[in-house]
């Protein structure tokens, strides 16, 4: 257990030291300023647009964090062969993977807390400017959406571990993670579209329908965690939805980390 935590702590510190963190924070800050500009162009539902902008900025910055900081933390060990040093220590490969993962999860949670502060500040400023345009606004829903977002990012990080466990360079894991993110966010709509294609006036072949259905079970359904639109309109999801979404996230994350451990334990290093 102690080894596990020390790996986690080192990973977390290493992540914080990464320069990319500054870049991501500046980007988030800029997008929050853009929030003030764009909200001022809206006639009626200013609150909705402000919440949209703030939540989307936080989510996008968090995504960049997972893609460019998170992946590097594991893949760098493999890229630079420092993994040999670690593996010669009295620590099992699974402990190493789980420890790394916990460190990155902690990094994501801390960064998302920071991004949430930015988001809340920008919403607060818009609210201060145009107080009459927030009729159905609730801070707790904004918090829930950000928490869901954090969970989705942790899931994505777990998936990137799975990819890193069998690929040889960090670039390939990055690409695979991006693909998984794109598929994960669109699979729900794609499945709905190919199963009822009349809406968009297309006619997909049966093979495509099958492929989409298989992908639906393989890839994480990230749109479950996306309640930004509902939150922007002050529509609260039911308690059971929250419970099942959190369960789904935890189960999928554990599954991905477990497979990553299994693959990584079997892996041979040249």
């Amino acid at each position: 257990m102690i080894q596990l935590w020390s790996v986690a702590a080192i990973t977390f510190k290493e992540g914080l030291r990464n320069r990319a963190m500054y870049g991501i924070s500046i980007l988030a800050l800029l997008m929050m300023v853009a929030n003030l500009l764009i909200s001022s162009m809206i006639m009626q539902e200013v609150g909705k647009v402000a919440v949209d902008m703030a939540l989307s900025s936080a989510s996008f910055a968090g995504l960049l964090l997972v893609l460019f900081v998170g992946i590097n933390l594991l893949a760098k060990d493999l890229d630079r062969k420092t993994i040999y040093m670690v593996l010669s220590r009295p620590i099992s490969r699974s402990q190493y993977i789980v420890g790394k993962f916990l460190g990155i999860a902690l990094l994501i949670i801390v960064s998302m807390a920071l991004l949430s502060l930015f988001a809340a500040a920008s919403i607060y400023l818009v609210k201060l400017n145009t107080p009459g345009y927030f009729p159905r606004f609730s801070w707790s829903l904004v918090g829930l959406s950000l928490a869901f977002n954090t969970l989705a990012l942790i899931l994505l990080a777990a998936l990137s571990f799975l990819f890193a466990s069998f690929t040889s360079t960090s670039f390939i894991s990055l690409m695979l993670t991006i693909v998984a993110y794109l598929i994960g966010n669109s699979i729900n709509d794609v499945k709905a579209l190919v199963e009822a294609p009349q809406g968009a006036g297309i006619a997909p072949s049966p093979v495509i329908v099958k492929v989409v259905q298989i992908a639906y079970y393989m890839f994480p359904n990230l749109s479950f965690f996306d309640i930004k639109t509902q939150v922007a309109h002050g529509i609260a999801p039911s308690g059971s939805y929250v419970f099942w979404t959190v369960s789904y996230g935890l189960v999928y994350t554990s599954l991905a980390v477990a497979i990553a451990c299994a693959v990584f334990s079997k892996r041979e290093f040249p």
Partner: protein, 289 residues
Amino acid sequence: MIIRRALPIILVLLLIPVHILTLSTVSNKRKTLHQGEDVAYVIPGPLLKITSLEYDGLASDFLFLKALVYYGGTLNRSERPRVKDWEWRWIYSTLQASTDLDPYFYDPYYFANAILTWDGNMVRETNSLLAKGSRYRDWDWMLPFFMGFNSFYFLHENGRASEYLMEGAKRPGGEALASLALRLAVKGNRTENAIIFLQEILKRTKDIATRKEYETRLEALQGIHVLEGAVNTFKDKYGKQPSELKELLAVGIISQIPEDPYGGEFYIDKDGSVKTTSDLRSMKKTKNN
């Protein structure tokens, strides 16, 4: 040595004006790029929902702003008609896509109702868009209210208008619509009802530019209302239709002909109803700015 050090600075100083020159030239040339009907395709909502990933709400906001900015750009045009048919259709499709991405978003519905009905002649399309909004925003009485007004005023379907208004009356804050619905059901004076409708809208409108537009409309309708009353008085007194408004002046029923705020002129149509040459659409360039 000094020259070598100064060279990059000189180069930067030279390149800055060149940069500004190329930027302004390209942005001017860009305006000559073909932007006609054939390139104004709007991707259908279900596909946009996929490509916008987790940023549906944001994409919806931007599509709405795109339509808004485009329409704003047409306000300064001098040609007639100011906005072409395909442009109205493009604005409609864009708002349709925006509300596909986020069906709860109020602004596209509000904007569509404000411009596509009066100016764009797309009343049925607007009502189907509003119906989508009304289905999702089931707490909002404004959308059924707009649908009611459109059905009553443009489509002359009083029965359906009452239904929409009754639907709106059931929602929080919309209780006052019930009496309007009743008025329509007993088939009152069309202009008078429209004035009551507009006064109700004005009470809820905060935005100054939109208020101005509705106030102009109200003023024009009030002018028509006064003249209609005068025509009726003339009929009662002389037992025949006046053929033109000057007759009303001549017999002293009215002291002056009200001015059409849209820049047109009021006249009496063959069927005896009062109309205006502007058809309640802006004729002056400055009016809508």
